[in-house]
Symmetry: C2
Subunit: 159 residues, 2 copies
């Protein structure tokens, strides 16, 4: 498992798509402006996402990108794996059993366990989950704001 800015860019871009793609395709130019990512870099990321079937491109005017499948069928791990290449971690060979090799193999397998746990964690979270969670939090925020406004005797003017 690997977690870089590249993966972050890909996830936030996909979030953008999930949020704005309900009414027609979203252009990379829009995402570029929204997210502050260069257009050319987005193109590279979406090439990888497209090859994994996570997005679907539509050419011509009015074109852009759709999600490749429903947002609850796309996990965060899917997205990160698509752009981050996931070099299958170098396994130690069975044969070489020197003290050093054994030690290395042990620490490697301990790390692999950890890595797999993070991966499972991200596999269980879908794009839809993230969006939903954001909506819930936003609703809570607004409610809290309204409540606070009521407490101080205002109507809807709170910062």
């Amino acid at each position: 498992m690997r977690l870089s800015t590249k993966g972050r860019y890909a996830v936030t871009a996909m979030l953008d798509l999930a949020l704005n793609g309900t009414q027609g395709p979203v252009t990379l130019a829009d995402i570029s402006e929204n997210q502050g990512i260069s257009l050319s870099y987005l193109e590279q990321l979406f090439a990888a996402l497209r090859s994994k079937g996570l997005v679907r491109g539509v050419r011509g005017p009015g074109g852009g990108y759709y999600l490749g499948r429903d947002s609850d069928e796309i996990s965060i791990a899917d997205i990160i794996c698509a752009v981050d290449e996931w070099v299958e971690y170098t396994r130690c060979k069975r044969g070489s059993q020197t003290a050093h090799e054994g030690q290395r193999c042990l620490t490697h397998s301990l790390w692999d366990d950890l890595s797999e746990q993070i991966f499972d964690f991200l596999t269980d979270i879908s794009l839809h989950d993230l969006v939903k969670r954001g909506e819930i939090r936003e609703a809570a925020r607004l409610e809290k704001k309204a409540a606070a406004a009521q407490v101080v005797g205002l109507k809807d003017q709170a910062a």
Copy 2:
């Protein structure tokens, strides 16, 4: 949160220290051989770990490194943060409320949520936990092996 090979190197090196540091300090040369990391790079990593108090160096012949505190007081997140610089993620300003800025801010906060969850996850796992888990798994493996040997009527000769 950020998860790179640098962080992995640091964690495996610290695991090495936790496993072998019970009887005297461990030299970087040993870790270099064990883990297959260059001495030069290890020095850089350990400089960062030392500045955060995660390891303690002992000079002179017979010297090396100890863990800075008990292995159950050192979390994986501690180690990764020490070497990976953790650039505090660029927050969006409150003032600018254009449509684009708003959109960016929303996706950023969604990512931040996720990132924080991973961070919490790694904060809850200590070096000691990882080592212990490895021991348990190793014990289970040996037991299984012994059981399998018994089934096929052997004593302790199974591969």
